[in-house]
Symmetry: C2
Subunit: 408 residues, 2 copies
C-alpha cells in the first residue's frame, strides 16, 4: 500500500473543524450545542438573493468565463466605487470564495520556500493554503492587551529577510475583531515599499465596522498599486457562506494574468453562486445597517458578559463578528473538547474555537478562545451562562491568583 505524501501528513487539521465529531456525539446524546465556534452567521441571506434563485430562468447550468460573469465583474466595479475603492472590471477575478483567492494570490506572487509575514493570531486556514503553496509563514505576534493592534514597524523589520516576499493581513480581523486604522496601514505601506513586498489584504468583513469607525482599504494606499492584492468574498457580507464566491483584485496586470491561468485550470467559479452574488449587489443599505446594529448589540452583550466572568479578559473589537477572550484555563484545546464531551448545563453546552490554532508560534494562545457572536441575544445569553458555569466546573481551571497561560 503506497504511503500518503509527507506534505499531506504535515497539512494542518482545521482546529475549528476537528472538534466537529465531539459536537456530533453531544448532539446524538440530545445535548443542545451553542455554536460560537464558526463564522456561520444566523443572519438571513437577503430575500432578493433567494428570490433570484427561485426565478432561475436557465435551462443549462453552464461553465462561466474563468474570471467570472462579465456582468458580475462590471457590477462589482459599482459596489467598490460605493465603498470608495476604484477598480476596473479587468482588475477583478471571481474566485471560488475567498479561500481560492488566497491560494491564487500565494501561488501567483510567491515561490516554494519564500516567506510571508502574517500578524498572529490569524485566520487558521492561511496556514493550510501556505502549506499547499509550499510557502513559509513568519508570524508577528499581536497582543490581547493591545486589542491585537498591528505591531510597530520594528517587529516586521526583525523578521524580514531576503526570502520575505509578502505580508498578509485580515482587516477587519478574523479572529480578533481588530479594525486597523489608516495609520497602521500607512506604516505597512512603508515596509512594503522599502522591502519591495506584496501586500495581500483580506477584507471580507469590510461591512462589519462598528462605533462609527470607517474601513480603510489597502487598495487606497497610494503608490503601492502594484504591490497590493485584495482578497474578498460575499460569504459574510450577505450571509451566504455556502455560495462560495470571492474575488481576487489587483491593479498589477502580471498578477491578474497569472491568477487567470490558475483560474483557467479549474475552469470556472460556481455558476449558481455567481447568479446569487450578482443579485446581491442590489442589497439595500438598510440590510447592512440592520446587520451592523444587530452585531453591535451582540458584541456589547458578549463582551460585557465575558468581562464579568471571574478571571476572564476580553478586549472590545471594532469589526467583524469575532472576539478573542482570555480564560482562566490550562489549555484551550482540552477545554473546548471537555465542553463537548463532558460538560452540560441545562442539557446544553457551548462550542468554541481554541485560539491556539490561530497562532503559528507554538505555545501561544493556550488560554484563549475565539468566540463568534453569530447567534441571537437570547441564545448568546444561554451560551454565556453555560460558559460561566463551565469555567467554574472545569478541572483544568487556573485560579486567578495563579499564573494563567503564557500571555501573563
Amino acid at each position: 500500500m503506497p504511503l500518503i505524501s509527507t506534505r499531506g501528513s504535515r497539512m494542518p487539521e482545521s482546529p475549528i473543524r476537528k472538534l466537529v465529531p465531539y459536537a456530533e456525539s453531544a448532539k446524538e446524546k440530545g445535548v443542545l450545542v451553542y455554536h460560537l465556534n464558526i463564522g456561520q452567521p444566523d443572519i438571513k441571506t437577503p430575500d432578493l438573493v433567494l428570490d433570484q434563485m427561485r426565478q432561475l430562468d436557465r435551462t443549462i447550468i453552464e461553465y462561466s468565463h474563468s474570471a467570472g460573469f462579465a456582468s458580475y465583474r462590471e457590477g462589482l466595479v459599482q459596489y467598490y466605487k460605493s465603498n470608495n475603492i476604484n477598480v476596473g472590471a479587468e482588475e477583478i477575478l471571481i474566485s471560488t470564495a475567498g479561500s481560492e483567492a488566497i491560494l491564487f494570490a500565494l501561488l501567483s506572487c510567491m515561490n516554494e520556500g519564500e516567506e510571508i509575514i502574517i500578524p498572529e493570531p490569524f485566520y487558521t486556514n492561511y496556514s493550510g493554503f501556505a502549506e499547499i503553496a509550499g510557502v513559509i509563514v513568519r508570524p508577528i505576534t499581536t497582543k490581547i492587551e493591545d486589542g491585537f493592534a498591528l505591531p510597530e514597524i520594528s517587529a516586521f523589520e526583525e523578521v524580514i529577510n531576503r526570502k520575505t516576499k509578502a505580508i498578509m493581513i485580515c482587516n477587519p480581523n478574523n479572529p480578533t475583531g481588530c479594525l486597523y486604522s489608516r495609520e497602521e496601514l500607512e506604516s505597512l505601506k512603508k515596509i512594503v515599499l522599502q522591502h519591495n513586498l506584496y501586500l495581500i489584504s483580506d477584507e471580507v468583513y469590510r461591512e462589519f465596522c462598528y462605533d462609527g469607525k470607517e474601513h480603510f482599504s489597502a487598495l487606497n494606499l497610494e503608490g503601492i498599486d502594484q504591490h497590493t492584492i485584495l482578497v474578498d468574498s460575499v460569504s459574510k457580507r450577505y450571509s451566504m457562506c455556502g455560495a462560495r464566491i470571492g474575488m481576487l483584485i489587483s491593479k498589477n496586470k502580471d498578477i491578474m494574468r497569472t491568477a487567470l491561468k490558475y483560474a483557467q485550470a479549474r475552469l470556472s467559479p460556481p455558476t449558481f453562486g455567481q447568479i446569487a452574488a450578482e443579485s446581491a449587489l442590489d442589497t439595500p443599505a438598510s440590510y447592512f445597517e440592520e446587520v451592523a446594529k444587530e452585531y453591535v448589540k451582540r458584541r456589547d452583550f458578549v463582551i460585557n458578559a465575558l468581562n464579568k466572568m471571574k478571571g476572564v479578559f476580553c478586549p472590545t473589537p471594532s469589526g467583524a463578528f469575532y472576539t478573542i477572550a482570555r480564560l482562566p484555563i490550562d489549555d484551550c484545546d482540552s477545554f473546548c473538547q471537555w465542553l463537548l464531551e463532558e460538560f452540560t448545563y441545562n442539557n446544553a453546552t457551548v462550542m468554541l474555537a481554541p485560539a491556539s490554532g490561530f497562532y503559528a508560534t507554538q505555545g501561544l494562545g493556550k488560554d484563549e478562545v475565539r468566540i463568534a457572536y453569530v447567534l441571537n441575544i437570547d441564545d448568546l445569553g444561554k451560551a454565556m451562562e453555560c460558559l460561566e458555569r463551565a469555567l467554574e466546573e472545569y478541572p483544568g481551571r487556573k485560579d486567578k491568583n495563579e499564573p494563567v497561560g503564557i500571555n501573563h
Copy 2:
C-alpha cells in the same frame, strides 16, 4: 514592483481558453462561432434539478460540512451501487468539481518532485494541477492510429523510476473519446501492484459509453483498493458544468483523512451546487438513454463528415463526447487562431481545440484538433461545412501527398 512567482510564469495557459479573445473579436464583428472547442454540452440540465432550485426553501445559504452534505454522500452510495460500484458514504468526499478532486488527490498522494504517469494526449488541466502540486507529469503517448488505446505494459515500465508515485487515467477519455477495456485496466492493475503506485481514475464521463460497450471502473479492480482514487463530477453527467460539484472517492482511509484536511482549509463545497446535485440523483434512466442516443447520432455524423474530408483522419470513439481528428495542416494552434481571426464561410466560423495542448511531449499533436460534438446535428452540419471550406482555404494546408505533421 515585485515580480510574480517563477511557478506562476511557468503555469500553463489553457490551450482551449487562450483562444477565447479571438472568438470574442470574431463575435464582435458579427461572425457566428460554432463552439466545438469546449466540453460545454447544449444538452439541458434535468428539469427536476432546475425545479429543485426554484423551490429553494432555505433562508440562509450556509457552509456545509467540508466533506459535503451527509445526505448527498448517502445518496451517492446508491448512485454508485446502481453503477456496480460499492462504496460507503465515508469513502466519498464532495469536492468543488472534479478539478478540486484532482488537486486534492495529487496533494494527498504525491510530494513535490515526484512523478505521475499519464497517457497522452490528456485533459490539459492535469498539467495545471500538476504544476500547482509541484509534481512532474511523465507522458506515455497513445496513438491516433490505434484509436488512442492504452499502450503496452512495457511502455509504462520504460518511464517508471523511483520517483514514480502514481498513474492517472481518464476513462472514457477526454480528449480522445477512447473507452478503456477491462483488459487494459487489468494490465494497469499489474503495474500498480508491482511498483506500489496510486491509480487515479477520472471517470466523469461514465455515462457516456456507446455501441453497447460497458464502463469498467478502476474501483472494481480487485486487490488494489488501497491504491485507487476515483475522481468524479456531475458536470457532464447532468449537463451542469457550472454547479462545480465533484467527488474524490477512495477506500484508503489515510487518503480520505488527508484529503479531508485539504477540504477543511477551503471550508466547504458550494451549497447551491450540492442542492442541485443531490436532486439530480433522481434523474430517470431515460434521461441518460436519450442523451447517449443523441451523442451517438452526433458522433456518427461528425466522424463520417470528418473522414470524408480530403486528408482528414479520425478514429471512432466509444465514449465521452470528444474526438481527435488529424487534419492536413501545418500547425493546429495557427489553424485554430486563423479560423477565428481570418476565416469565415457564410459569415460563420468554427472554434476547435488545438490538440498540441493535450500532449505533454513537445511537438506532438501539431496536426490534430479536439472536436467536442456538443452541438445539435443541424449546427454540427454547418460547422463541418465550415471546417471543410477552411481546410481548403487555409494557407498552411499540407497536401495529402506531402508529409503531414509529426504522427506520419
